[in-house]
């Protein structure tokens, strides 16, 4: 019954999306027509129904209803409740339902709240959103129905892939999805404004919170994904340039460029067509990401829930949306009026540079990710890895970081080089000194040395906009920018330190053996069997002491899950302010010894701390913008009331 209710709600939501599309599209031509009042309520109801359908699926998973195919295939009655719930979206059908739910809820919010845009633009935006949504409803209802029943209920579920049974991974995919869906909203706004020729600062201010929100979630999602790969896969690495990782990085790069250009449009009424273009590109990249992850066209070490047929479906959707959007863009871009002018050495100039560099990095990642597909069509097998991405990406990243350090000091519209020449020279000297010191004291690679030098300079440069300001009166948006830029420096510092200073030891140890890794002394106490809710494991008890200090206990495990049956290595981490000790246990050897892999990774947590700071910066900016909007709204209403009073 629950499953049928969910399915019915989903069909109704799809029908409402159809209504929303028609009502919105007609009302653009006839703003006073009979359908004009329908699009907004349709959007709200669609959101409610989609959320209801998702709640029903959540309920089925919580109950472990084994008559539902999806539950039987992805859950197990012995699984902890949290993973039963996260199993809802830990599979293809459920994650697509989550996608459509978030998208419909976003549409409901726009329909209910958004009052800044001209009504026609609003209608066009809702129509575009419904159009995009309909594609996903069709996908879900026709090819991946999450509520499908089994002819006879299963006796027991097959369980969830153990790699996904992890608290980090329970929340990482939905986080990324919120980001992707936020970009679909930005896409709808961009097309709505383009169709009604309303590419104005007001439009940019309405779109900005959605871009910011999407960007915050993408940032958090990528950070969480990277950390998950680091501790769960047991390889000790945090970025592999894997296609699935690139699939999340590409929309982030586009969203970062969009975020900056939408700010220029909102503040200075420049970069109109460019902002629309980035809105289209950012959503294209999130669709492309979904396609790459879901279709299995690319080799990936962590592609889950792969199905070529569904890949074809997403590819068709991708073609319709992107092809359509680009066609409209080509037809309409010329009619978007010219924006305000600015000189090359101005805040706008710096932001344009940043945008162009981000686009170039995006192109580099995109080419590297798709290249193997292309060559395979010609029968040549290629795999592209770090030897390509690191140096080629750095060629564009480093100049961008340099401009990022001083760009925020420039004034809007017109400025001279003079204002930034002093800090620029100071930062450059500082970077050279740091780089020279690192190169002299360690045998770090060129990229790692450059990374540390740029991180140091950017760390200081990002704080300069606060100089001479009253910190209490500095707007939250400025704090946001400073925090996010500082976060980039922190993350870069972590990445460069990890690649420059990591020490690795691989040993076969007996209980009682002591291993030294950098400043650590690690003793293997014992190896014992332990039992979890749906797994058994062998667990090593390690005592790790940093420079003779009191020992910390580390317990890496080698786990065996019994449904589905497979083994995973659970790493153990000891975190200090200056780095992390990372331990993995390998297989046993006949003579009773155990393989241990131990790393000392100085400052590696800075990578993820930086990511969190970047997201926090976005959040500060978002709160700052929203409260400023609310205040403006309140003041306007008060003055309108006063006017009424005086008239009365």
């Amino acid at each position: 019954m629950i499953a049928e209710l969910g399915l019915a709600a989903l069909w109704l939501a799809a029908a409402l999306a159809g209504l929303q599309l028609i009502a919105g599209a007609v009302s653009v031509k006839q703003p006073d027509g009979p359908l004009a009042s329908l699009a907004r309520p349709a959007a709200v109801m669609q959101g409610v129904l989609a959320a209801f359908a998702f709640a029903m699926l959540l309920w089925l998973f919580a109950q472990t209803d084994l008559s539902v195919k999806l539950v039987a295939a992805n859950s197990h009655s012995a699984k902890p409740m949290i993973f039963k719930l996260s199993g809802t979206w830990g599979n293809h059908e459920g994650s697509m339902l989550l996608w459509i739910t978030v998208m419909a809820l976003a549409g409901a919010m726009i329909g209910y709240l958004e009052r800044r845009l001209p009504e026609v633009t609003m209608q066009a935006t809702l129509a575009t959103q419904a159009f995009v949504g309909l594609g996903f409803y069709a996908f879900l209802l026709l090819s991946s129905n999450p509520f499908e029943r089994l002819p006879t209920p299963a006796a027991e579920g097959q369980g969830l892939n153990p790699l996904l049974q992890d608290i980090g991974l329970a929340f990482h995919p939905p986080t990324l999805y919120f980001g992707y869906v936020g970009l679909s909203v930005a896409f709808s706004f961009a097309l709505g404004a383009l169709l009604t020729r309303q590419v104005t600062p007001n439009f940019a201010r309405a779109m900005r919170p959605w871009v910011l929100g999407a960007w915050i979630f993408l940032t958090l999602g990528i950070t969480a994904g990277s950390y998950w790969a680091y501790y769960e896969l047991g390889w000790g690495g945090w970025w592999f340039w894997d296609p699935v990782e690139n699939a999340s990085l590409m929309p982030w790069l586009a969203a970062t460029a969009l975020l900056h250009s939408v700010s220029v449009l909102a503040a200075r009424d420049a970069l109109r067509a460019w902002t629309i273009m980035l809105g289209v590109v950012a959503f294209s990249m999130s669709m492309m990401g979904t396609f790459l992850v879901r279709s299995g066209v690319l080799t990936s070490v962590h592609a889950f829930a792969v199905d070529p047929e569904r890949g074809a479906f997403i590819l068709v959707l991708l073609g319709i949306y992107i092809g359509g959007a680009l066609t409209i863009f080509a037809l309409r871009a010329g009619t978007v009026q010219e924006g305000e002018r600015f000189t090359a050495t101005s805040r706008e100039g710096a932001l344009v540079f940043n945008n162009v560099m981000l686009s170039a990095i995006l192109a580099v990642v995109l080419v590297g990710t798709l290249y193997p597909l292309l060559t395979e069509a010609f029968g040549v097998q290629v795999s592209v890895g770090p030897p390509y991405f690191n140096p080629v990406g750095a060629i564009f990243t480093l100049p961008m970081l340099a401009v990022m350090a001083v760009g925020p000091l420039l004034r809007w519209r017109r400025d001279g080089v003079k204002r930034v020449s002093k800090p620029a020279v100071f930062l450059a000297i500082f970077a050279v000194v740091v780089g020279a010191l690192v190169a002299y004291l360690s045998n770090a690679s060129v990229l790692a040395v450059l990374g540390l030098a740029f991180a140091a300079a950017l760390g200081i440069g990002s704080l300069l906009p606060l100089k001479g300001r009253n910190l209490l009166r500095t707007p939250l948006a400025t704090w946001g920018m400073v925090t996010a830029h500082f976060g980039i420096a922190v993350a870069l510092f972590g990445m460069a330190s990890e690649s420059a200073f990591s020490i690795e030891k691989l040993v076969a140890a007996r209980p009682g053996d002591v291993t030294e890794v950098g400043p650590w002394k690690i003793t293997l106490d014992s190896v014992d069997p332990v039992v979890g809710p749906n797994w058994t494991a062998l667990q090593a008890d390690l005592q790790a002491s940093y420079k003779g200090a009191a020992a910390i206990e580390l317990q890496p495990q080698s786990r065996t899950f019994w449904s589905p049956e497979r083994e995973t290595a659970e790493s153990a981490l000891a975190t200090r302010w200056n780095g992390q000790l990372y331990a993995v246990m390998g297989s046993g050897i006949e003579d009773g010894r155990r393989q241990l892999r131990l790393w000392w990774k100085p400052f590696v947590p800075m990578i993820w701390l930086g990511g969190i700071l970047v997201a926090l910066g976005g959040l500060l900016a978002l709160i700052g913008r929203l409260t400023a909007d609310l205040k403006r709204h309140y003041v306007r209403r008060r003055s309108a009331e006063r006017r009424e009073e005086t008239q009365a």
Partner: protein
Amino acid sequence: MSALKPKHQRLVLVVVALIALIAAGLLAAYALRNQASYFYVPTQMAANPPDPTQAVRLGGMVQAGTLKTMSDGITVAFIVGDGEAQVPVRFAGILPDLFVEGSGVVAEGKLGADGTFVADNLLAKHDENYVPRELEEMTAAQAKRTVSETAQ
């Protein structure tokens, strides 16, 4: 710069963006040309061995019965084959979770002068449904060969 008319400014922006993107594309294409020789299957490696200094990937099936742990307890040796050629591989490290004999593997590392491939990283499949794409066709071809051999 300040004297530019709006139309010219837009043109300059478009040109700058285009130049940067074309430069990125060209650079990528140039760098990728060297990547063409990044992935090998044993047959290719036997016919055209890569330079010992060049980091490459070797993909193939771990041959049954060839996996051995050396006396140091850390180094493992096994043979990767594709049904035609075989390459001995040495790897010091912890084997990935799904690394088993008879299954596919992609090894990252360098081919030593003695013909042994020294891997510093092994990529095994991470999900029971996942096979490295480079190996998919090979598995099918192997299966075909096995069938034709047993049929004789």
